[in-house]
C-alpha cells in the first residue's frame, strides 16, 4: 500500500444519493416525521433543563474545546504515550490506517480465540468501519447488546441516530420487529416498553453468559494512564466489558484526552448533552489487564480511517473534537424532518454533514459533495455543542472546498454567482440591474394585479414549489432616496 498520501476514510460514511434526493425519500414518510419530532423534542428539552442547572456550563464548554484542541495539536505524541501506558498495563495495541485494516485486525484476533460468536457494546467506530459485516463474512456472528442497536440489527436496518440508533421506530414497530425476528421472543409480547425491555434482557442474558469475546469502542482514551472509558445507560456495556475472557476495543485516534484529570470535564459535558442526565448510569474504565479480574486478553485497535486527513485542514479539524453526544442532531431542524438515513452515513445530522465528507473527501461520493448544503445555517447545533464545534463555519468552509474542487467543470450556478458578483461590484452596474429587474417584472405584476407570483421557471421553481414569490415593483430604495433628498 502507498504511504505517500494520507489515507481517506472508508466504510459506512457515504452513499450514492445526493442529500436532497435522499432527504426527499425520507420526507415522504409521515410516520417517521411524527416519531422523530416527538423523540428529538423530548431529549432536546431534557438537555436544556439539566444544562441550565450548571452556572459554569460555558466554562466547561471552553475547557472541553481547549483540551480537544490540545489533543489535536499533539496527537502523535499523545498516541505513543497512550500506547506505552496501555502496553505496560498488559494490553496489546494495534494500529489501523483504515476500515479494511481495522476489520482485518479484529477478525484475526477473534479467530485466534476460536470463537464464532461475539457480543458488542454500542460503538460508532465499529459501525463506521462496518465490522459486523466483516466478521459475518469470516463466519463470526456479532450480537449488538445495546437495546436500540439490537432493534436495528434485528430489523436488518441502519442506525439513524448516534445515541438512539432506533429513534425512527415507535414502540408498536419495535414490537413487530421483536415478535418477527427475535427467535426467543415470548409469545403474546405486547408493546408495553417494560415488556419489550424484558424480552430483550432475556434474549441478551443468554448471549452474555455464553460469549467469550466482546468488542467495544471507547468514549475516551486517557494518554497518561492508558485507560479506556465507556459510558452507557443500560448496563449491557458493563456486562460485555467484564464477563468475557477477551476484550477488543476499536478506538478512533481522536478519542484521546491527555490526562485522567481531564475526564472531569468530559464526564460532566457528555451525559448532560447526550441523554440529558446529570450523570450517566454506567461509567466503565479499564487499564490493560487486572490479573484474575475481568478480561485477561485485552486488545486496543487505534483507527485512523481518514482522521489524519481531517486533521490537516485548519478549519475542518475542529470536527475531531466531537464526543458523539448527539445534541446537535436533537436540535437540528433538518435532522428532525428527514432523520438519520438521509445522511447515508453512520454519522447523521449536523456533525455528520461536516464529518462524513471530510473523512472520505468531499468529492468522493454524491452524498459527500452535497452534505455541506444540508443545513439552513441556523446555528442551533453550534449553540448546544459541548465542545464548541462551529458547525456552520465548517459547513461553509466545505461548501467552498466542493465549489473549488469543481472549478474546472461548467456550472450554471457558478456563472450566475460570477455574474452577480460582477454586477454588484460596481454601483452603476448594480443600479442599472435593479432598474432592469423592476422593468422586467412590471408587466407580470400588472397582469397579475398583485406583487406575488405562484410559479417561476427553474432554478427558481424550487422556491415557488412551496411558497409564493415576491415581485419587485415601484421604486427601489436608492431611486426614492435620490428623488426625495
Amino acid at each position: 500500500m502507498s504511504t505517500s498520501s494520507v489515507p481517506t476514510g472508508r466504510g459506512r460514511l457515504a452513499g450514492p444519493l445526493p442529500f436532497p434526493d435522499a432527504a426527499r425519500r425520507q420526507l415522504a414518510d409521515a410516520q417517521l416525521r411524527v416519531n422523530l419530532r416527538r423523540a428529538t423534542h423530548t431529549i432536546r428539552d431534557k438537555r436544556a433543563r439539566v444544562v441550565a442547572e450548571l452556572p459554569d456550563w460555558e466554562q466547561l464548554r471552553l475547557a472541553g474545546s481547549a483540551i480537544k484542541a490540545d489533543v489535536l495539536a499533539r496527537l502523535p505524541e499523545l498516541l505513543v504515550q497512550f500506547e506505552d501506558a496501555a502496553t505496560r498495563a498488559g494490553a496489546t495495541v494495534h494500529w489501523a490506517r483504515d476500515a479494511t485494516e481495522a476489520c482485518d485486525v479484529v477478525t484475526r484476533l477473534v479467530r485466534q480465540t476460536g470463537a464464532d460468536e461475539v457480543v458488542k457494546v454500542k460503538s460508532m467506530a465499529t459501525q463506521e468501519i462496518e465490522l459486523n459485516e466483516a466478521l459475518e463474512r469470516a463466519g463470526i456472528h456479532a450480537t449488538e447488546t445495546d437495546l436500540a442497536e439490537l432493534i436495528v440489527q434485528l430489523a436488518d436496518d441502519e442506525p439513524s441516530h448516534i445515541l438512539v440508533p432506533a429513534i425512527h421506530y415507535n414502540r408498536h414497530q419495535i414490537r413487530e420487529i421483536f415478535a418477527g425476528r427475535m427467535g426467543d421472543a415470548p409469545a403474546g409480547l405486547t408493546d408495553d416498553p417494560r415488556a419489550l425491555a424484558e424480552a430483550a434482557r432475556l434474549h441478551l442474558r443468554r448471549k452474555f453468559l455464553s460469549s467469550t469475546v466482546a468488542i467495544s469502542g471507547a468514549n475516551f482514551a486517557v494518554a497518561d494512564t492508558g485507560t479506556l472509558v465507556v459510558v452507557e445507560s443500560e448496563g449491557n456495556g458493563r456486562m460485555c466489558l467484564t464477563l468475557p475472557q477477551t476484550l477488543i476495543s476499536v478506538v478512533g485516534v481522536e478519542k484521546l484526552v491527555p490526562t485522567f484529570g481531564d475526564l472531569e470535564v468530559f464526564l460532566q459535558l457528555l451525559p448532560r448533552s447526550s441523554t440529558g442526565e446529570r450523570m450517566n448510569p454506567y461509567t466503565s474504565m479499564w487499564t490493560g489487564v487486572t490479573p484474575g479480574d475481568g478480561p485477561q486478553n485485552v486488545h486496543i485497535v487505534l483507527v485512523d480511517n481518514g482522521r489524519s486527513a481531517v486533521l490537516a485542514d485548519e478549519v475542518g479539524r475542529q470536527a475531531l473534537h466531537c464526543i458523539r453526544c448527539s445534541a446537535c442532531l436533537n436540535v437540528c431542524p433538518v435532522y428532525e424532518r428527514v432523520g438519520g438515513h438521509a445522511y447515508e452515513s453512520v454519522y447523521p445530522g449536523p456533525i455528520g454533514a461536516i464529518l462524513s465528507p471530510q473523512l472520505t473527501g468531499v468529492t468522493a461520493s454524491p452524498s459527500a459533495s452535497t452534505l455541506p448544503w444540508a443545513s439552513s445555517l441556523c446555528g442551533a447545533c453550534y449553540d448546544v455543542c459541548p465542545v464548541r464545534i462551529n458547525i456552520p463555519e465548517v459547513l461553509v468552509h466545505l461548501r467552498q472546498s466542493v465549489v473549488d474542487a469543481h472549478r474546472d467543470r461548467p456550472s450554471p450556478e457558478r456563472t450566475a454567482m460570477q455574474a452577480l458578483s460582477w454586477v454588484m461590484g460596481d454601483r452603476r452596474r448594480y443600479a442599472r440591474a435593479l432598474r432592469a429587474a423592476r422593468r422586467g417584472s412590471a408587466p407580470l405584476a400588472a397582469a397579475l394585479r398583485r406583487r406575488t407570483v405562484r410559479r417561476l421557471p427553474p432554478p427558481l421553481s424550487g422556491w415557488t414549489a412551496y411558497r409564493d414569490a415576491p415581485l419587485p415593483v415601484g421604486e427601489s430604495f436608492r431611486d426614492w432616496w435620490r428623488r426625495t433628498r
Binding site: F19, P20, A23, L27, R33, P333, V334, R337, V338, P372, W373, A374, S375, S376, L377, C378, G379, A380, D383, V396, R399, Q400, V402, V403, D404, E413, R414, M417, Q418, L420, S421, M424, G425, D426, R427, Y430, A431, L434, A437, R438, T452, R454, P459, G462, W463, A465, Y466, R467, D468, A469, P470, P472, E475, S476, F477, R478, W480, W481, R482, R485
Partner: protein
C-alpha cells in the same frame, strides 16, 4: 454621530418601505442618516454558497463605502451578522467597520439608548427571531423591547419561536423539500396565534414565511419590525 444606512440588496429591490421606515425612525429621534450610494450587497449569498473569491470584491466595496462612518445600520440581522462575524476573516482591515455595523435594534437600544421610538400600531403582532440575529448577533429581546413600547400594539408569543423557518438562503431552493417542511411547521405555529401580523428582523426570511402563508391562503401579514416602529403615533 455620522450614521450611514446600509439598505441591503434585497431591501433595495424588493422592500424599499423597510429602508424608508429606518430613516423615519432615526430622523424622528433627531439623527441625520446618510445613504452612501456606492453601496451594493454584503456578499453573504456568495460567501455562504462557497464562492469566496466572488464575495471578496463585495466585502472590499462595503469596507470602502462605510469605513468613514461612526455607525452603520442595516435592517437585516443576517447581513449584519455577515459583516460583523465573517468580514474580519475575509479582510483583517474590515474589523473596525465590522464592529461599528449594527442591526437596527442594536443601534437603537445599545448605542442610542432608546426603546420607545414614538410609534403606534393598533394590531396583534407575533415575532419570529431570525436565526442569525438570534444566534450570531445575540439580539435577545431587543426587538421585543422596542415592540412592547409601541402604542396600541399587542404582542403575543409564538410557539417554537426560536426554530428556524427554513429559509437559509439558497437552502430554500437546493433543499426545497426540507425547507418547505420547516416552513409548514412555522406557518402552523403562526396560524395558532391570534396575530394579524408576523414581524421579524429579516425580509428574506419574511419573504419565505409570507410566501408560505400566502400559499396557504392565510390572511396574516408579514412585516419587518422596522416598518412597525416607523409608523407614527
Amino acid at each position: 454621530m455620522r450614521i450611514a444606512l446600509f439598505i441591503t440588496c434585497v431591501n433595495d429591490l424588493l422592500y424599499p418601505e423597510t429602508g424608508k421606515a429606518v430613516v423615519r425612525i432615526l430622523e424622528r429621534l433627531g439623527h441625520k442618516v446618510e445613504f452612501p450610494d456606492s453601496q451594493t450587497c454584503c456578499g453573504q449569498m456568495h460567501a455562504n454558497s462557497g464562492y469566496r473569491a466572488e464575495a471578496l470584491p463585495l466585502v472590499r466595496g462595503f469596507v470602502e463605502t462605510f469605513d468613514r462612518y461612526d455607525a452603520v445600520v442595516a435592517p437585516s440581522g443576517s447581513c449584519v451578522a455577515m459583516v460583523r462575524e465573517s468580514y474580519p476573516r475575509f479582510v483583517p482591515a474590515a474589523a473596525g467597520v465590522a464592529s461599528r455595523t449594527y442591526e437596527l435594534s442594536e443601534l437603537l437600544v445599545d448605542v442610542l439608548g432608546v426603546t420607545d421610538v414614538g410609534a403606534a400600531f393598533p394590531h396583534v403582532v407575533t415575532y419570529h427571531p431570525t436565526c442569525h440575529g438570534l444566534r450570531v448577533l445575540r439580539l435577545g429581546d431587543k426587538p421585543l423591547r422596542l415592540l412592547r413600547a409601541v402604542a396600541d400594539l399587542e404582542l403575543v408569543g409564538l410557539a417554537g419561536a426560536e426554530e428556524c423557518c427554513g429559509f437559509g438562503g439558497t437552502f430554500a431552493m437546493k433543499n426545497a423539500g426540507v425547507s418547505g417542511a420547516m416552513l409548514d411547521d412555522k406557518c402552523t405555529a403562526i396560524e395558532q396565534t391570534d396575530a394579524d401580523v408576523i414581524a421579524a428582523a429579516d425580509n428574506s426570511c419574511l419573504a419565505h414565511i409570507g410566501g408560505g402563508l400566502s400559499r396557504r391562503g392565510s390572511p396574516i401579514r408579514v412585516m419587518h419590525y422596522a416598518e412597525i416602529l416607523g409608523g407614527a403615533s
